[in-house]
Amino acid sequence: MQTLIEVNGLKKSYKDKEVIHSIDFKVGEGEILCFLGPNGAGKSTTINIITGALRCDSGSIQYRGESIYKDLIGYKSHLGIVPQDLALYEDLSAQKNVLFFASLYGLRGEDLAEGCRFAIDFTGLSDRANDKVSTFSGGMKRRLNIACAIAHKPELLIMDEPTVGIDPQSRNHILEGVKQLRDQGMTILYTTHYMEEVEEISTRIIIMDEGNIIAEGTNESLKAGIEGDRHYRIAVEYEAEPGDDALMRIDGVKKVEMDNCIIDITTDRKKENLDKIIAALIGSGVKINDLSAETASLETVFLQMTGKSLRD
């Protein structure tokens, strides 16, 4: 797979607070590369830097081996951007929105008309093409937000949380569309904090937290990294907080996290030690209210790596 984008040592600060801490990654041609992370992880900042709209403090971004800043306008003409916010003229029709934004990429005449038809059809808005955007539902606006980014058939489509706040039907429509666009030859860079979306569409995943890349790989490889483990989440009541020493001494226990009345325990799947864990807790005067065992998911990958939930 040929490298389309290569990012090295990317850093960005806002008012002395570093929000991106020297990250490196590559985007291969034909990938659906998903950036997964909670709000504030640095996904949108990273995306905005890759689009060339936001300057980084240091680091390099190369497109097909050349710095994007060498010919920024030329580089931008290869991109399609679906911003997180709905970036549409509400008083114009869907068609006029698409025509206008496509014209910014140099499309004119029959190419412009054809690009507009393709984008409107692709997003399923043909029957409302001449209606004002202000009359559209949230899901339709989200689809139009995508249509405005694909009419010029970009090489790299960058989608920043394109499904925020929409109904499941529109979300499925968008996710199916993303896969079809990839099949048509586009490379997709997709950010979200919904792990279900990532599991459905990604060919590769970068997990971000607090401005760092904390894991990178395919859905399967990331889960495989923790498949040797089992996670117990135990809801408890206690007078005094129990120490984790007793739990850590149990054979197979790898990690113990305590947060108020929730204890998260990561243990070796091959060791049958649940009875010992329960005994240790009861022995330290803890009352167990609930206990659940979790299977491997991107959520648990994230939880294991950061000690917090994706939606924290």
Partner: protein
């Protein structure tokens, strides 16, 4: 050029299709001139009627408002988000702010030309007959300068609301000082002298001298000053405009 034309046409259409802005650019000055002209008609003579005075002075006041239109066109919340796509698109940043300035200039010039023609035929405002081109040129250059000023202040403050609040206050003071609502010469020598700091004063005086005395002595200085200030404002926009402010 094709991409700039696309952005310019959309910016212009956004202004022309906004009923509030059209009213503010056409209905408001007409109503203000007719009402003030009627109320103060007794205070003016036969040769120069109150309509003649306000037909010039309040047109200058309206020219100030080109700054409000350009600031809105540049960063108004309703338009700011779709404008964000301009930052992502392969167009030079200069096209973005220049388009807002030119679209506001074109919109105000069309609107105020209509207002002037309307007032000429309805209440017979005197714009100088054969010399009318000169006040017209001063108004046009003024429109451009104030449109550029609106965008420039937005580039500095990065917020359309704050820009409009500050500019409205400054324009109100400049209008009072510049004799928009009443001639300031009667308020004493000191006030009359201070009033020259207001662009309204130069513009109104230059126009009235051309219209009533055929005196063009102030035309070139006012024209040159407005052109100079316009160039300075556009250059500063280029220095201060940051596409990131749209993100």
């Amino acid at each position: 050029m094709y991409r700039f034309k696309s952005v310019f046409m959309l910016d212009l259409m956004n202004q022309l299709s906004n009923p509030m802005w059209v009213f503010y650019a056409i209905g408001f000055p007409i109503a203000l001139i007719l009402i003030l002209g009627f109320l103060i008609s007794g205070g003016y003579g036969e040769a120069v009627s109150s309509y003649d005075y306000f037909g010039v002075a309040l047109m200058v006041f309206s020219v100030f408002n080109a700054a409000t239109f350009s600031a809105n066109s540049f960063m108004e919340e309703r338009i700011k988000k779709p404008n964000m796509r301009l930052i992502y698109s392969p167009i030079s940043p200069i096209n973005i702010y220049l388009s807002k300035i030119l679209a506001s200039f074109a919109f105000c010039s069309m609107a105020y030309t209509f207002v002037a023609v309307f007032l000429r035929f309805v209440v017979g405002v005197n714009y100088g007959g054969a010399n009318a081109w000169a006040p017209f040129v001063i108004m046009l250059v003024g429109n451009f300068f104030f449109a550029a000023l609106g965008v420039l202040v937005c580039c500095i403050l990065r917020d359309e609301g704050t820009t409009n609040n500050i500019l409205s206050l400054i324009f109100a003071i400049m209008s009072l000082l510049g004799g928009v609502f009443f001639p300031v010469d009667g308020l004493g020598k000191a006030v009359a002298t201070v009033s020259w700091i207001s662009p309204a004063r130069w513009m109104i005086t230059a126009c009235l001298r051309i219209i009533y005395d055929g005196d063009f002595s102030m035309f070139l200085p006012v024209f040159g000053l407005l052109i100079g200030l316009s160039v300075l404002a556009v250059v500063l926009c280029g220095r201060l405009f940051k596409g990131e402010d749209y993100l």
